[in-house]
């Protein structure tokens, strides 16, 4: 791995860590419940992107399965909490 790719991936991981910190700030400090759900949504997308970068770093295909699972469960949980905020019931 040449320094171009190595430092590019390091910079990408650094930027994604900053993004996750921003989302974490809104998750902890958000004034309302929907702010926190939105921050969680943003946080799992950033984590999924970080897993894609780690897949390139370790040259491994396993991280795609993990990223797919993170995307799947993140969508289900965000939608379930949003539905709960909307109606007070997840499944009516």
């Amino acid at each position: 791995m040449t320094p171009v790719l190595l430092w590019g991936l390091k910079a990408a991981l650094f930027l994604l860590a900053i993004a996750m910190l921003c989302a974490l700030f809104r998750l902890l400090a958000g004034p309302s419940a929907q702010d926190r759900v939105m921050a969680l949504d943003c946080l799992y997308i950033n984590g999924m992107l970080m897993m894609l970068v780690l897949g390139i770093v370790y040259a491994s295909n396993v991280y795609f399965e993990a990223a797919m699972l993170v995307a799947l469960f993140g969508f289900v949980s965000s939608t379930a909490i949003a539905k709960f905020l909307l109606r007070g019931e997840v499944i009516e």
Binding site: M1, W7, G8, A11, L15, L16, I45, S78, K83, L86
Partner: protein, 142 residues
């Protein structure tokens, strides 16, 4: 970082991968920084979509370039993730917007009132609308 890489790539492939990875991560960082910067929920809901669209697409292109050069055939697993995100992110956003509108109306917040009979499930006064009885006509918004 570990040193093992299966196949050393040509330089142009590494440059393309690095550029796409950095650009995608920068999109995600800008979108997430909007969460900190924007003042209200209805402004904040716009910003993470930058990371969910452009960020995910750039990162997918980076992985496609890298793993296609590694394995000498087209690697399209990451497109599945991108298509899934492209399908599900708007659904989550719409649910969150409806929930936020509902809660703001219940708190008498500064949001527009619902039309009578619209699909948000509220009547004109912001109360949850009763389901229509069978055989009666539902009033339509003008």
């Amino acid at each position: 970082m570990p040193e093992f890489v299966a196949v050393p790539l040509p330089l142009w492939a590494e440059i393309v991968t690095a550029v796409f990875a950095v650009v995608g991560a920068a999109f995600a960082a800008i979108g997430s920084f909007g969460l900190v910067r924007m003042p209200t929920f209805f402004r904040r809901i716009h910003t993470p979509t930058l990371g969910a669209t452009a960020g995910v697409w750039c990162m997918t292109l980076a992985t496609i370039v890298y793993f296609s050069m590694q394995g000498a055939n087209l690697f399209l697993h990451a497109v599945l993730i991108t298509l899934f995100i492209a399908l599900t992110a708007p659904v989550t956003t719409i649910f969150l917007m409806r929930a936020a509108l509902f809660r703001e109306r219940q708190k008498d917040g500064d949001v527009p009132q619902a039309h009578p009979g619209d699909e948000l499930g509220l009547d004109g006064e912001g109360r949850p609308r009763q389901p229509p009885q069978r055989g009666t006509s539902v009033p339509t918004p003008d």
